[in-house]
Symmetry: C2
Subunit: 150 residues, 2 copies
Amino acid sequence: MLLSKSCVYALRASLYLASKNENGYIPIREMSEKLDISFHFLTKILQQLTSEGMLESYKGPNGGVRLTRSGEEISLMEVVLAIDGDYMLTECAFGLPGCGVMKPCPIHEKWAETRDNIKYMLESTSLTELSKKGKEFNLRMTADGGFNDI
Amino acid sequence: MLLSKSCVYALRASLYLASKNENGYIPIREMSEKLDISFHFLTKILQQLTSEGMLESYKGPNGGVRLTRSGEEISLMEVVLAIDGDYMLTECAFGLPGCGVMKPCPIHEKWAETRDNIKYMLESTSLTELSKKGKEFNLRMTADGGFNDI
DNA sequence: ATGATTTAAGAGTATCTTATCCTAATATAC
DNA sequence: GTATATTAGGATAAGATACTCTTAAATCAT
Ligand code: FES
Ligand code: FES
């Protein structure tokens, strides 16, 4: 799989936050229920995003998490880097050490091109862009629910 | 990671076989040593390729495995499908069920494009193409060894 | 102050992937 | 036939990823 499951959960949750253009904090419990993701697991993942500075959190009643910047400024890449790291973008497709530094492997040229393509897609897509599209076409965020159910 | 480790081992081994344009069987032990892959693990992986019909095997002295068709006709995609299945090419990037069948998720459009790109790269690259390039430029197949060491 | 709500943090469990080991089964060479 | 080389296949272990549970800390409402 391209992205880890944790990373996908992080993306869906970030998208959820970006779609709420309120300024308040959103409880993780609410997100976990709407997005159908285990509450405790999601909590851990969002803690990572918080410690990376992408989210800020607040405890107690009316607490929760929110984006530190506008969803317009946050790319999917930022979320992926925070959770999965840059592994996908720097490692050799053959698993050999030092891609781009040492002598390339036979698949390097082709892989570098494909990788750039993936990279560009993640970098050029913002949370707001997906959120807008989701709202407009009522795209689904869960196994069966549409965007406007959340 | 895009491809599983098993799949990467399978690709490297297939490439090794394609680079030997002899008609005889190549022992797995030889491959495992040259490519620096655990013998027993590699054996299991190649058994899968054999049962998929991509390789044929022969037991006993002078036994081993060989490609059933010319390396020219075998694409990287074929190896990937045999080991990792079509998961990467059919599943939703958000992990939701029924990508392409049910209502799309917000990232579907972008992901489908990226996925097509990956697919095209794997389909349009043959074992022989990489093998030729590997020989010509002495590209590396192991952590430190060049193609012409194998 | 007390109790309710919510995130933080860490330990514990399950499941999947990767790797190792051992025993068969098959083929060759002598 | 006996010894040797080699793949086939199952059982098990180690490691990583995914998930669960419990307790602590912060904040608010009364
Ligand atoms: S060295 Fe293998 S992909 Fe770059
Ligand atoms: S439905 Fe999510 S990528 Fe196709």
